[in-house]
């Protein structure tokens, strides 16, 4: 018999996670799964890993939930002050630089893999990856989290530049669904955030909306309930 207080009661909250962001023709799309685990227990099966930094910049979080929450709180605070002083909205580059600064200067304390993406009028849609260690890298698309390992081959084959908004969203949802299928630490629903010059749009794809891959049982047909 398992002891009353298992290891999961004291383990740190981790976001096993699959996160990604892609640039498309006119903006960016951020996507993430929704599983937060403490050990093997799913502490939150519907978490929101895409956090707002400013009106036009969002952050995908992976790694330690606490660490990424604190980092995003600090960056949101700095950006807020910066926007007031600057007199105009902050650029994605500035937001990403601030995230990088915190990640790099505190590298020995943090376990945070993040992706900063958004839209500004100078550079259009931009995606910046800030992995463990605090590198800052601008890319046309980026992935992170434990589920991302299963996506590299797929992305190399399937990604194209200048996709339309719908194509890009389908691309993101399919990628995350593929990762969820293979990575035990990723699961739940797929959330997407689209940022462009017109504003921000949030979307939500639950089980029945996700694409199925070979040998998977379609949802809704459960043998226990006749």
């Amino acid at each position: 018999m398992e002891p009353m207080a298992g290891e999961w009661t004291s383990a740190a909250h981790s976001m096993g996670t699959t996160i990604m962001a892609v640039e498309y023709n006119g903006g960016v799309i951020l996507g993430a799964d929704s599983r937060t685990t403490t050990g093997v227990y799913v502490a939150n099966r519907a978490s929101d890993k895409i956090t707002q930094l400013t009106d036009n910049v969002y952050l995908c979080r992976s790694g330690s939930a606490a660490d990424t929450q604190v980092v995003s709180d600090y960056v949101r605070y700095f950006l807020n002050q910066h926007t007031i002083q600057l007199g105009r909205e902050a650029t994605v580059k500035t937001a990403a630089t601030l995230v990088k600064e915190l990640a790099y200067q505190n590298k020995s304390f943090l376990q945070a893999g993040m992706i900063v993406a958004g839209w500004d009028k100078y550079d259009g849609g931009s995606v910046y990856a800030v992995p463990l260690g605090g590198t800052l890298l601008r890319l046309p698309f980026a992935t992170g989290g434990s589920g991302s390992s299963y996506l590299y081959g797929f992305l190399d084959q399937a990604w194209r530049p200048q996709m339309s908004k719908d194509e890009a969203e389908r691309f993101v949802v399919k990628s995350i669904a593929l990762a969820i299928a293979r990575d035990g630490a990723s699961g739940g629903v797929v959330r997407t955030v689209t940022v462009n010059e017109h504003g921000v749009e949030r979307n939500f794809f639950a089980g029945d909306k996700l694409p199925l891959f070979h040998e998977e049982i379609p949802p809704g047909r459960n043998s226990l309930l006749a």
């Binding site: 002083q85 600057l86 600064e101 100078y122 800052l136």
Partner: protein, 255 residues
Amino acid sequence: MSSIGTGYDLSVTTFSPDGRVFQIEYANKAIDNSGTVVGIKCKDGVVLGVEKLIPSKMLLEGSNRRIHAVHKHAGMAVAGLAADGRQIVGRARSEASQYLSFYGEDIPIKELCDRVAHYVHLCTLYWWLRPFGSAAILGGYDRDGPQLYMIEPSGVAYRYFGAAVGKGRQAAKTAIEKLKLLEMTCREGIIAVAKIIYEVHDEAKDKAFELELSWVCDESNKQHQRVPADLLEEAKVAAKAAKDALDEDEGMDAD
């Protein structure tokens, strides 16, 4: 305007009964006695010019520069005590460099001006510091276009179309007001600034001077740089000719 503040002028932390801080006013006198510095904002950029008075023939030409690069896109011309001016430029350079490090972007010129003004003002708040005896004219080009600012020893800073400090500032300001800055390009602006500086230079009181010119404009790729040698020569020639013509008109040449 010139009055002594007997008793109330010993410290920058003392107000006079009529609300003035005399030490700051005395700091301004230091600038009034230095060579003229002029800045104008043309339609495509900013031009800075300095009447660099040469106290001795032994000085190497081009030394003791008065126009300094602050960052790729910004430069400063200083008037007044040279050493004080160097400190101000140093502070501006580190503010610009730290901003780039922290935010990943070049510092907006307004922000740079605010930071420098804040620092200059700081030095008027403590009895163990004296105010800076120099004014800095800051010219730069950022996402909001070309801008010209001036920071005074009191810590006050305004944005200008045209600014002048130093010995010949009154005459320079009058000349600047006559210019049609909104239609002028920097190429034309260089000639205009050179002419103004030659015009306000007092040959009787001050012997030799060297003209220093810099610009930041579309033609210089939005980077602050010394005006290229050939354009500088062109400007000097035009300015000398204008000055000679003026002297003849006014009959100043003893014939």
